[in-house]
């Protein structure tokens, strides 16, 4: 199963920028004395992010698709094709840069319960979409 190194780097980048930005504006002496804490905290956060992305996996079956995720609180979400309302491929700017895509599956369960498989190769995402749309017993109108 392909994991998204791209997204990982994106998050790492955001966190780094965020942290440095927080530190810049107000260099009061008290804040600076605590700033040494930031480095190990940031390191822990990075380690967690790496680890959590290694823990995402997906499985494509004949009639449904499942997504595993979570480090401590593991979850498996299974979406049968027959209950799909529509399928969407979305690509953020960084995803476009690295040739990746996220496939999103919507059922009638509401936007909260949409299944998103991130960090797929664009070709894989499109092939998956085609496969799903051609699946027997689909509820989506073509």
């Amino acid at each position: 199963m392909l994991i998204l190194w791209g997204n990982l780097l994106f998050f790492a980048g955001t966190m780094t920028v965020g942290l440095w930005w927080l530190m810049l504006p107000d260099p009061s002496p008290q804040l600076l004395s605590y700033s040494w804490l930031l480095l190990p905290l940031w390191g822990l956060l990075m380690a967690y992010l790496v680890f959590s992305y290694r823990c995402i996996g997906y499985v494509v079956r004949e009639q449904d698709i499942g997504l595993y995720s979570g480090v401590v609180f593991r979850r498996l979400v299974v979406q049968p094709y027959t209950r799909l309302q529509h399928v969407e491929i979305s690509r953020g700017p960084l995803e476009r840069l690295w040739g990746l895509a996220t496939i999103k599956l919507f059922s009638a369960g509401g936007a909260l319960h949409s299944l998103a498989v991130p960090g797929l190769d664009l070709g894989t995402a499109e092939a998956l979409r085609e496969y799903i749309l051609r699946s027997r017993g689909l509820a989506i109108e073509q």
């Binding site: 609180f73 299974v78 009638a108 369960g109």
Partner: protein, 497 residues
Amino acid sequence: MSNNPWRRLSPFAIVYFTGRTLGQLVGAVPLMALGLLAIAQSDWQSLVIYGGAGALLVVLFATLFFLNFYYVQQDDRFLIRKGVLSTNLTEVPFSKIQNLNIKQPFYFRPLDLVVLTIDSAGSSQAEVEIAALRSADANRIKAEVMAFQRAAPTAAIKVETAPNAEMACLLLRRSFSDIIIHGFTNNRAWLLLAFLAPVAGQLDELLLALFARFELDLEQWFAAQSLLLVLLVFVAAVVGVFVLISILSVLGSVVALFHYRLLFDKQVYTRKSGLLSRYEVQIKRSRVQTLKYMQTGLDLLFDRINLVLEPFSSGSQDNHKSRFMQKILVPSLTAQEAPGLVGHIYPQLDIKQVIFRAISRYYIWQKMLFGAVPVALLSTALVHGQPLLQSILGLTVFCALMLLVWLRWMRYGVGICGDYIVMRSGLLGVVIICLPVHKVQQVKFLQSLFLRRRGLASLQLVASSRTVTLPFIPAELAEQLLDRVLAEVENSESSWM
């Protein structure tokens, strides 16, 4: 495909849009009014001016909305164009329509105008309202859509075999006393409470300001009285609030449920009720996604049961009222009436025969470690520096929370009856959710490392009306159910709609 022209609504729709916006704003009005009262000492003029300006803005917006609202009914779909700043075109195919409800606000009654609400499944989540139609027109549209749906089943809808020709029949009525009992046992005053919530934070300052105006100095007065008297006043105040809320709730119940009738005609359940504004909610039997069987603590005392037929619920509804309008609530059924109605809606489900399994006791441990203990510890921070008082407070909070946790654990139960998954929960009252397996949209299997070690898991069944969570059940049961639900959803021919 007929080429019908785009139509505008009747200008009376402006009244409806105004009313709707005002209803949404009602939450802000008490806040603003009270705030103004407290700050500007006796400035009634400015209050009137601000209020008037606000109302004018609302009417203006409603007019703009009306001017930009166009709709057309084609052979197999509705097209609606609306929006003031950004117009969007919404397409509602008849085959995707879940509910068609007609309501008549009291200000439309003399003119016999109604509002048609269309709810559909699919990616465009919002419900559409066509306001100020003549009631004959609305009924005609409804009949046309329903005829379309009956005549042209898509591949996703199973052709319904009508067993015996069911004629329109009145399933049940609710008497005035039933409605009053319902208002007392179920809090229908939540509307007002929800609106008062933002004010609650400023309530004490407000009260102080009010008292200051009337030259009452509370602190001195309290200090001067005996502790007993203060306690009595406090208790009287609490009882007073309870009585007030009960009265408001009964009033709310009467206004919404007056002359309640539940009808069944051609596989469609219709609920009609309403004192000032007449409301009608229709749900086709096959469209009922889940059934909620509910008794609050007070209902248990009166031995009454409430049933709620829940259809597909579109996305996020911002107010309680629209959520209320999409479901069919059957209030205050007696213990004899309830099982019969459940059997009518779900023919293979005999709710009295369901055996519930308890969930794991680990639930209690988890809530204790991650809930009761931290909260109790935090509460001790409220009373600083008095170790005895702190420990008493902490212990009391802990015991109170654990009692609640235990009560909740006692209520939890998982039952499987044929093709139905029946989930019981609640605290003082009882809530039972009945979910037919083939209505499931998505399944989630949750197993944290802690649960895994104990051979437990949580299963979430996502339906289009709600999500049913079976927490802390044995992992094998969760896996069996997972496989069974998926097999049923993927292989059976019955549609979820």
